[in-house]
């Protein structure tokens, strides 16, 4: 039986402690031997290495992935940029070197010196950047006079190059230098100050795919800073190449059509959700961001009243106007309030309580059923219907159609939009819902706000038989060697709340809007392609009050109060290949401004050689 060690002065402990002491001595001896080895045997060699700090690290940047359109057209690549830096330790005397520099680069001595003094405190072995992107001519001159310029180093860095100026700027985005906040956030591990990261658009969303992996080498340098020996190298891995879903030719066409206007165009494949074009106007020059922008340039971008930095297709919210009548029609049909044959009489106005609600057509539409109401955009028909529907039921249908919530497109700052309900208004304003407000909601003119992309979800759902797809901007991802690592498949996010019967009725209405002489979008009618669509004219001045219609008509003529013009369409009407949404800010009428733009874009798409022959020829 072993004895428990509760007694004092146990020899047992003492024996073990003596053994421990010997172990400790032995381990310390190992440390001292190692010290002796490093400081005496290797001492001279290590002292030599330390004298001019021979071992340095050089970074090898990874080329960022390229961006192509769906057909492999290169949209964004990298070009070499020659960056001029000075290593203070090697540049002696520094003033001497700096004074010679203005001969080669167009920067005054004072500015160069201030750049150096700003970097006081950092190691004299760290290169200080004097000028980025000096160009090939300056590079050649400097290389020739290298020995005159001790301490000057030119490094080649890949620099982002957006091939088509301003094209798809909002979709592709741009790069910028990483900020200290971003560095601290912990989201960017492996990044350092001075790195460029995606700040906007696809460049930002797919940063992790595009970036690649930085490499570097351990080198030994001599006293003048020249590399004598490469000790170790870690190769850089280039980023992945990205194929966007957009078709560059269509994108370019969309941008041409928006030239000089403020607004957005979206084109999408209704059967997959792939975005074919996404243009927002006015745009900005992405290359200006890469080269570093001056304060004036930035201020002029930010203060521009047409908001070039905003992606109007997804960040901007507009009243849906008559495009919303599609939702009202669906709700009324599905709820059994009307059927295909239910008709109302439109005298050009509708009386609700003691207020008069006008139809846009002052002469009235006479007898109107739902198909005609959609085709000719009769307000009175929808006023009548909405009274029976109520605002909350209408809101449910709007939400189910994808309005009032983000679509989930992989771009930043997607706006949500707004679908009003009675409860929402009560909590927001404290005032209860008024019956008359339902009338305005039904024609998309009240508190409702949607983004053009949400409108796209609705119209492409109508086109493809009722399915809501998540809008996709990425088609596939490849490694730099061309190995496909990810193909983006369609993602269904929901279904429109429609039966096939209802869908047929709505589609007929949209077809007649374009293809009947009295349809609001007759202007979009072409012989070659069978187009269906719905116009919208978003009044910025309330039309609900009947008190002073003359004053409202007058206000509508002012430039900054002119209505926004909508057109949402798809083609061909049977088995649609493309859906298009156009919004033109202050474009006055959907029929006269937006519809022709959509027509041109659809024509371009359907006449492209790689598209299937449109039907209905």
């Amino acid at each position: 039986m072993s004895k428990y060690l509760q007694s004092a002065d146990s020899d047992w402990y003492k024996k073990r402690l003596t053994g421990t002491a010997f172990l400790v001595f032995a381990v310390f001896l190992v440390l001292i031997v190692r010290l002796f080895y490093l400081q005496v045997i290797e001492g001279n060699e290590l002292r030599r290495l330390s004298e001019n700090n021979c071992i340095r690290l050089q970074s090898i940047d990874s080329p960022r992935g390229l961006i192509f359109d769906r057909n492999g057209e290169l949209l964004v690549d990298n070009r070499p940029s020659f960056d001029l830096s000075i290593i203070l330790k090697d540049a002696k005397p520094v003033e001497h070197t700096i004074e010679k520099l203005p001969q080669y680069i167009d920067v005054p001595v004072t500015e160069l010196m201030s750049k150096i003094s700003r970097n006081k405190g950092i190691s004299s072995y760290t290169p200080i950047l004097l000028k980025q992107d000096i160009g090939r001519d300056a590079l050649a001159a400097i290389e020739v006079h290298k020995y005159d310029l001790p301490g000057i180093v030119v490094s080649v860095k890949p620099r982002r190059h957006y091939i088509y100026k301003q094209s798809a700027a909002h979709l592709i985005g741009y790069l910028g230098e990483i900020s200290s906040d971003e560095l601290k956030s912990g989201k960017y591990s492996g990044y350092r100050a001075g790195d460029y990261i995606g700040k906007f658009g696809v460049e930002k969303t797919y940063e992790s795919l595009l970036r690649g992996k930085r490499g570097g080498r351990q080198v030994e340098v001599n006293a003048t800073g020249q590399v004598v020996r490469v000790l170790r190298t870690v190769e850089a891995f280039p980023g992945h190449n990205i194929y966007l879903s957009i078709d560059y030719l269509l994108q370019k066409k969309a941008e041409e059509l928006l030239e000089g206007l403020a607004g957005a165009i979206i084109a999408m494949e209704p059967s997959t959700g792939q975005i074919l074009a996404l243009a927002s106007s006015p745009a900005f020059d992405q290359n200006a961001f890469v080269n570093g922008m001056s304060h004036e340039q930035w201020d002029s971008l930010i203060s521009n009243p047409f908001r070039p930095m905003e992606n109007k297709a997804i960040n901007a919210e507009y009243p849906p106007a008559s495009v919303y009548k599609i939702v009202t029609a669906i709700a009324a049909l599905e709820e059994g309030i009307i059927d295909a044959n239910t008709s109302f009489h439109c005298p050009g106005y509708y009386k609700c309580g003691n207020r008069i609600f006008r139809c846009w057509e002052k002469r009235g539409h006479d007898k109107v059923n739902v198909v005609k109401a959609l085709a000719e955009s009769c307000d009175v028909f929808f006023y009548q219907v909405s009274q029976k529907l109520g605002v909350d039921r209408l809101a449910w249908y709007a939400r189910a159609c994808g309005l009032g919530s983000a679509t989930g497109i992989k771009l930043d700052h997607e706006a949500k939009g707004l679908i009003p309900t009675a409860a929402w208004k009560k909590s927001r304003t404290g005032v209860g819902w008024q019956l008359g407000e339902t009338l305005s909601v039904a024609i998309g003119q009240s508190y409702n706000l949607v983004t053009p992309l949400q409108t796209m979800t609705l119209i492409s759902g109508i086109a493809n038989g009722g399915i809501r797809y998540k809008p996709l901007i990425l088609r596939k991802v490849e490694t730099a060697e061309g190995e496909v690592i990810n193909e983006n498949n369609s993602e269904v996010t929901g279904k429109l709340p429609v039966s096939q019967r209802t869908l047929e009725i709505v589609r007929k209405g949209l077809w007649e809007a374009v293809n009947k002489k009295r349809g609001t979008a007759w202007i979009a009618h072409v012989d070659d392609v069978d187009i269906s669509g719905k116009t919208g004219t978003a009044q910025l001045v309330s039309r609900t009050g009947s008190d002073d219609n003359a004053a409202i008509d007058k206000a509508n003529k002012l430039d900054h109060l002119k209505p926004h013009a909508w057109f949402a369409a798809y083609a061909p009407s049977k088995e649609p290949q493309i859906a298009v949404v156009v919004i033109v800010e202050h474009g006055e009428h959907g029929s006269s401004t937006a519809a022709p733009i959509a027509r041109e874009l659809i024509m371009t798409y359907c006449s492209a050689p790689n598209q299937p022959e449109p039907e209905g020829r």
Partner: protein, 366 residues
């Protein structure tokens, strides 16, 4: 009430060693944070304050009978563990690691006091269960649980260095009180078998990280580069050193974390082989004195407690210095007294206080 023998038995040499090492630490830190700039940086003054706060803690730690630690063992342990849990929930940190708890104007690193708590709790357990035949597997379950809880919490932060430290301290204490031979063999055999099994289940990137840890050359731009620079710094000190504030590796920020984990390189560069051997000998004396306290203590709790504390100082010195000289893989372990950091300095001061405490009350055994 007051016993004169307490004063007679006071271990002045332990106190002097703490003062000397603290002084050397301040001198080295001064150099590490002043190099390349005109005036010493904030860190130096902060450490100066911590040094005096540490001395106060040292004194408090020997004022009352160390048996109190025995009685309060579990409370101290639970308190420290809850601090660790607190870190994981509301902790602050840098570079993705959560190690700090903020209390008004100062913050502490709970993983430091946890080391002492584990030593106390294990000393308490072993002092009641040790026998000459050694501990059986069944008796080891408790100590295992007491060690693994803080270990996991610290790995989660993640702070691998301190987590390894806890295992080494607990392991040293356990081996010291002896494991029963058959159980010992069983433990060794089962760990040999489990290593390849665990390896098999690890993911690729985890394997890569472990391989880099064992062989820094696999990461020539990170750890590998740090080790080369550290070796150059130490070696270039040669026999007599470059002199105070003359270290160039340090001055040019070629050393990583030069005021915390790599501070010994700064010292060795400036003071050479002579200085480095002297500082090693001071540490050696401190450790032998710690074992001597255990030797002269006449009851198990005090003996095992001093062994645990000595083990902690021993392993930190060996791992830190071994690491900067390229003998041991790089883990974040501070050098007691010398590295910058309030929590670590105060912990080690408390440890010295406890040793003095055990030493001066050695006559009090009934």
């Amino acid at each position: 009430m007051f016993d004169r023998r307490l004063v007679q038995n006071f271990d002045w040499s332990l106190l002097s060693l703490a003062l000397i090492l603290g002084f050397l630490g301040l001198v080295t830190l001064y150099s590490a944070v002043t190099a390349g700039t005109q005036a010493p940086q904030m860190e130096y003054y902060k450490q100066l304050v911590w040094y005096f706060v540490g001395l106060i803690f040292l004194v408090i730690s020997f004022l009352f009978n160390y048996k109190t630690f025995d009685r309060w063992g579990y409370i101290i342990y639970i308190l420290c563990i809850s601090l660790l849990v607190g870190v994981l929930i509301l902790g602050e940190g840098s570079k993705g690691a959560m190690r700090w708890l903020r209390f008004g104007f100062f913050s502490i690193q709970p993983s430091e006091p946890v080391k002492i708590a584990v030593i106390i709790i294990l000393a308490r357990y072993y002092s009641k269960h040790t026998n000459t035949a050694g501990l059986t597997l069944r008796e080891l379950i408790n100590p295992f649980l007491l060690t693994i809880i803080p270990f996991i919490l610290i790995v989660k932060q993640p702070d691998l260095g301190t987590a390894i430290m806890i295992v080494l301290i607990a392991g040293s204490m356990t081996v010291f009180v002896k494991i029963e031979r058959r159980s010992f063999l069983y433990l060794i055999v089962s760990s040999i078998i489990s290593v390849p099994l665990v390896w098999f289940f690890l993911r690729e990137y985890q394997k890569a990280r472990i391989l880099t840890f064992l062989n820094p050359d696999r990461d020539p731009l990170g750890t590998g580069y740090h080790i080369i620079q550290s070796k150059i710094a130490i070696g270039s000190g040669m026999i007599s050193g470059k002199g105070f504030l003359k270290g160039t590796q340090n001055a040019l920020s070629f050393l990583p974390e030069q005021h915390t984990d790599f501070i010994f390189s700064v010292f060795a560069e400036e003071w050479g082989l002579i200085g480095s051997v002297i500082i090693l000998i001071i540490f050696l004396i401190l450790i032998i004195k710690g074992l001597n306290v255990a030797y002269r203590c006449r009851e198990p709790f005090g003996t095992i407690l001093s062994v645990g504390i000595t083990a902690m100082i021993f392993w930190q010195v060996i791992i830190n210095i071994g690491m900067v000289m390229g003998l041991i893989p790089v883990v974040g372990v501070t050098l007691p007294f010398i590295s910058y950091g309030g929590s670590s300095l105060i912990s080690v001061m408390i440890c010295i206080g406890i040793l003095i405490n055990i030493s001066m009350r050695r006559f009090m055994v009934e």
